[in-house]
Amino acid sequence: MNHADDAQAGLAEIAKRRDQVLEGASRGRHRGWDATGMVLMVAGFAAMDLPVGKGPQLALLLVALVAALACFTQAGRRSRAVLHASALNGRFWAVLGGCALAAGALVLAAVWLLDGSDFPLRNTVTGVVLAVIVAAGEPLYRALVKRRAAA
């Protein structure tokens, strides 16, 4: 193997390992904290179905969402690997932002559909839909980020 082939193999190895870290940082998140965050998120939406005023409902939703965010952050900090700032490039944010926008659009569609019904727990259902979308979107996010990293 000459120098150039050796260098090419080295660069391929670097790209492969970078993908492994992207995968590990996402898959290796602490499941307990992630699950708690999801439950809090659903609970926040469920608070909107409580028979109380709009103010307390929104306050409960806000508190639950902040607590959920704290849990998701903890899950990331207790991960097996944390991405370095250099890995959080424009492509990474584009994929993350795209996934967030898609999730938001799907939730809005769910809200629009449920608003037309008399279902009493429609906000709870919205929360569950959001949690399902987030969970189901993870493999897609991983695939897109990895494909982008290889590019």
């Binding site: 150039a4 260098a7 090419q8 080295g10 670097i14 390992r17």
Partner: protein, 108 residues
């Protein structure tokens, strides 16, 4: 062929290149994650990490206690700079081997 500046002999061996590449993409990584990713034994990985730590390229930190104790490995700024220099050197080597289309009389 001369080796470009920045080419790091310490980083270049395949196992160590794999380890440094993992660490370069991460702020830190757990020892167990590195072990599984590189398919190394505890002692083999420990040896590689020690070599990097002795060169000032990596740092090892212990966190937590009891069953939750974990060993985190991270690159130092010096290690990161060495890795970036090494990547640039590898790219230069590949670039040298790829003929310039203008030199070969080919359209760009």
């Amino acid at each position: 062929m001369t080796v470009p500046a920045g080419f790091d002999e310490l980083i270049h061996p395949p196992t160590r290149l794999g380890l440094v590449s993992l660490l370069a993409a991460a702020q830190w990584a757990e020892f167990s994650f590195l072990k599984e990713s590189l398919e190394l034994t505890d002692s083999a990985l420990s040896k590689q990490v020690t070599t990097l730590a002795e060169a000032g390229y990596a740092e090892v930190r212990k966190e937590g206690a009891g069953r939750r104790r974990r060993t985190l490995v991270m690159l130092t700024p010096r290690g990161r700079a060495a890795f970036e220099g090494h990547v640039a050197a590898l790219q230069q080597l590949v670039g040298r081997a790829t003929p310039d289309p203008t030199e070969a009389g080919l359209p760009r």
